[in-house]
């Protein structure tokens, strides 16, 4: 039975599910159920090696030629522990969103490997990939844009279950109500449509939908940046609670360093398609080693006039270079206040500067 498509398998197992509808759904139904189940905290759940996503640049009207590539993600590797949160920070255009999408195979990687649990995600194809998607879900930045305006909450939440052939209509509804409760929305919203909600409530819906299949990994792409400050805090606290309740592993992608620090155990800083620094969230904020991280941290306005008055800002010159034609050597050198000749010639290696603290810079700053 385990090799049957889920659609057929689902109707045969309802008795079990009504008793324990929470996590049992995936394990019983999905052929891959056991493979990516939550493991002991500490073992990596997600492993990414040398991931590359290059988009071809095409010219010509009749005959299209490829004249180059935008190297959106250019060799990024990282590990996320089961039950942990990895925060990926960077500015717009650094490739962090593309990376997140490539991990979920929403974008086809040009090279590299993604492993979730025991499954090589990059090797999956067709139906197996489609079914494996229930293990990994995404929360998007714009909650209004990612919810179908013509679907009410009931339909929105039931859809992932339908797609994966989970449960009967009544069971799907029951699960939807439970998930709504978990994200702090009352049952009474089931018949309502996305436009009837506030921004924060919509983001709760987006999170509820990602939770419906009880995934192992949730990629949160700028989960709070579209929200007002007071609502941001609500949603961040919610993400925290849900992690414990559902044993989730998060990959949080954001541009806001304070948000990432608050949510993550481990933080990676991306610049122009590459990681430039990675460490525990404590040490990366206490002792940033890469000039870019230093500049980023010094640029974040702090809600404290004393700190603001006394801080030394590292103001970076200019803008992000084009990822279609990245600078030679170190990619950050064109904006780096400490750049020397060697930076243009040799690409700095990805080295461990201190225990668990990796950095790509020639110097020890």
């Amino acid at each position: 039975m385990s090799t049957e498509p889920v659609e057929n398998a689902a109707p045969h197992v309802p008795a079990q599910r009504t008793e324990e509808p929470d996590l049992s759904v995936q394990e019983t139904d999905s052929p891959e159920g056991a493979s990516a189940a939550p493991q002991e905290r500490g073992a990596p759940l997600l492993e990414v090696e040398g991931l590359e996503v290059h988009f071809p640049i095409r010219r010509g009207i009749v005959v299209e030629r490829t004249v180059g590539h935008v190297r959106a993600v250019d060799g990024v590797g990282l590990k996320v522990d089961a039950g942990g949160t990895y925060g990926l920070v960077g500015e717009s255009g650094c490739g962090k969103t593309t990376f997140g999408r490539a991990v979920l195979r929403l974008e086809e990687p040009t090279a590299g490997r993604v492993r979730l649990g025991d499954e090589d995600v990059t090797a999956l194809k067709g139906e197996r990939l489609r079914r494996f998607r229930s293990k990994m879900q995404m929360v998007f930045q714009d909650p209004l844009g990612s919810l179908n305006p013509r679907h009410n909450v009931d339909m929105l939440l039931a859809e992932p279950l339908k797609v994966h052939g989970v449960g009967s209509k009544a069971e799907r509804r029951k699960l939807a109500v439970e998930t709504l409760d978990a994200v702090g929305l009352p049952k009474s919203v089931m018949e309502r449509y996305p436009h009837e909600f506030s921004g924060g409530q919509r983001q709760r819906l987006g999170i509820a939908r990602a939770l419906m299949l009880r995934p192992d990994l949730i990629v949160c792409d700028e989960p709070v940046s579209a929200l007002d400050v007071s609502i941001q805090a609500q949603v961040m606290n919610l993400l925290d609670e849900l992690q414990g309740e559902f044993g989730l592993t998060y990959l949080v992608i954001a541009h806001d360093l304070a948000v990432v620090r608050h949510l993550s155990d481990r933080v990676g800083v991306m610049y122009l398609g590459k990681l430039v620094e990675e460490a525990d969230s404590e040490s990366i904020y206490e002792h940033p080693r890469h000039p870019y991280t230093k500049a980023l941290l010094s640029a974040v306005p702090q809600p404290d006039p004393e700190i603001e008055a006394n801080r030394e800002r590292i103001i970076l010159k200019g803008d992000l270079p084009s990822p279609a034609n990245p600078p030679s050597g170190c990619r950050f050198r064109t904006r780096c206040p400490w750049a020397e000749d060697i930076c243009a010639e040799v690409e700095p290696e990805w080295r461990e500067a201190a225990s668990g603290h990796k950095v790509a810079c020639h110097f020890d700053l």
Binding site: V229, S230, Q232, L257, H262, V300, P303, R313
Partner: protein
């Protein structure tokens, strides 16, 4: 006398009240912050001061009047984007989306709200200027940026031809755009977001205005670019003595830039104080809640946040009590017993329970 004195400003779009009696002052050369979340009326306040709201007739109910085109001069995309989003126009209200503006906004003693459109046009861009959040929609996409700068110089300073171009290049140089002569011929889409914001600032400061209003000037930008722009604004304020009204939702930006702060909630000032005082002794529960909602880099890791519950939709009308009461943790009976007054001089707040809380 303060440079700008806003007194009991009220703006309504049909049945929806966006600004419900806002008062504050901006002194010569000072940076004053207007802080609040979306829908609190901070942008509408600035548009009202600049006379950029579509006009409605004050104090009159509009019924079956024929649809009239708004009397305000065309101001491009920025206005269109700003008004209907923050203020839903009620179904039975004015069909043209016009605003009813009441109160007083005196600039150098002259009330801007009652000024004739032609007189306002002479002031706008010369004595007071504005920078919008989204530089791409505030710049004309089919006109080179050089022309968009010289337009202001021609209109207000009478500069023409080469002189104007030279001055435009100077301005671009002043706001930190490299190779200004070449950039003058470029179109907005050829510039990055930070560059576009710099161009907007160049246009705004072209006539050395005495008051600059910046509506979320860095919200659309990356952190490192935001730092550049904030530095530039600070520098302009310091060197030219321009007063700046900074409208933002980011208390971090406020802490670094402003001298005085007004916190807005649901169309009213709920707390106002000098910047250090406000951050050291936040008094209104909303201000306290905002500060508690921000994850901070200087505090311990994973320190729990204390968000404000509910959303801005949970609101009561100011005349019935404190609009923040439905979301406030310290709500008590006096809070909903009537209109709370703004008390205090230097550090003012609008909370009837402030004594008890402190």
């Amino acid at each position: 006398m303060a440079l700008l004195e806003v007194e009991d400003l009220r703006v309504a779009f049909g049945a929806a009240t966006a600004v419900d009696g806002v008062s504050f002052t901006v002194d010569e050369g000072k940076v004053v912050g207007l802080v609040g979340e979306s829908g609190c009326g901070k942008s509408v306040t600035s548009l009202a001061i600049m006379g950029l709201l579509p006009k409605g007739r004050p104090g009159k109910r509009r019924k079956a009047e024929p649809l009239q085109v708004a009397a305000a001069e065309p101001v491009g995309g920025a206005l269109k984007a700003a008004v209907p989003q923050s203020v839903p126009v009620a179904g039975r209200g004015r069909k043209d989306g016009g605003a009813e503006v009441n109160g007083r906004a005196a600039f150098d003693g002259v009330d801007l709200l009652t000024l004739a459109p032609s007189a306002m046009r002479r002031k706008r861009g010369r004595d007071l200027a504005m920078i919008f959040q989204d530089p791409l929609s505030s710049l004309n996409p089919v006109v080179p940026i050089g022309r968009q700068i010289t337009e202001v110089l021609e209109r207000h300073r009478g500069l023409k031809g080469d002189k104007a171009s030279k001055e435009a290049a100077n301005l671009l140089d002043r706001v930190g755009i490299p190779d200004p002569a070449r950039r003058l011929k470029e179109y907005p889409h050829q510039l990055s977001g930070g560059m576009r914001q710099r161009v907007l600032i160049a246009i705004a400061v072209a006539c050395k205005p005495r008051l600059l209003i910046a509506d979320e000037p860095t919200t659309a930008l990356d952190v490192t670019i935001q730092a550049q722009i904030l530095e530039l604004l600070k520098d302009l304020v310091d060197s030219e003595g321009t007063a700046l009204l900074m409208i933002t939702h980011d208390l971090g930006v406020v802490a670094g830039l402003c001298d005085e702060v007004n916190v807005l909630y649901s169309g009213r000032v709920v707390e106002s104080a000098p910047v250090r005082e406000l951050f050291a002794r936040p008094t209104h529960p909303y201000t306290v809640g905002l500060l508690g909602s921000i994850p901070r880099l200087d505090l311990g890791i994973h320190e729990p946040l204390t968000p404000i519950r509910g959303s801005i939709a949970d609101v009561i009308r100011w005349k019935d009590g404190c609009a923040f009461a439905p979301r406030c943790d310290r709500v008590a009976e006096p809070c909903v017993a009537g209109e709370p007054a703004l008390v205090g001089a230097v550090h003012a707040h609008r909370c009837v329970m402030a004594e008890e809380i402190a």
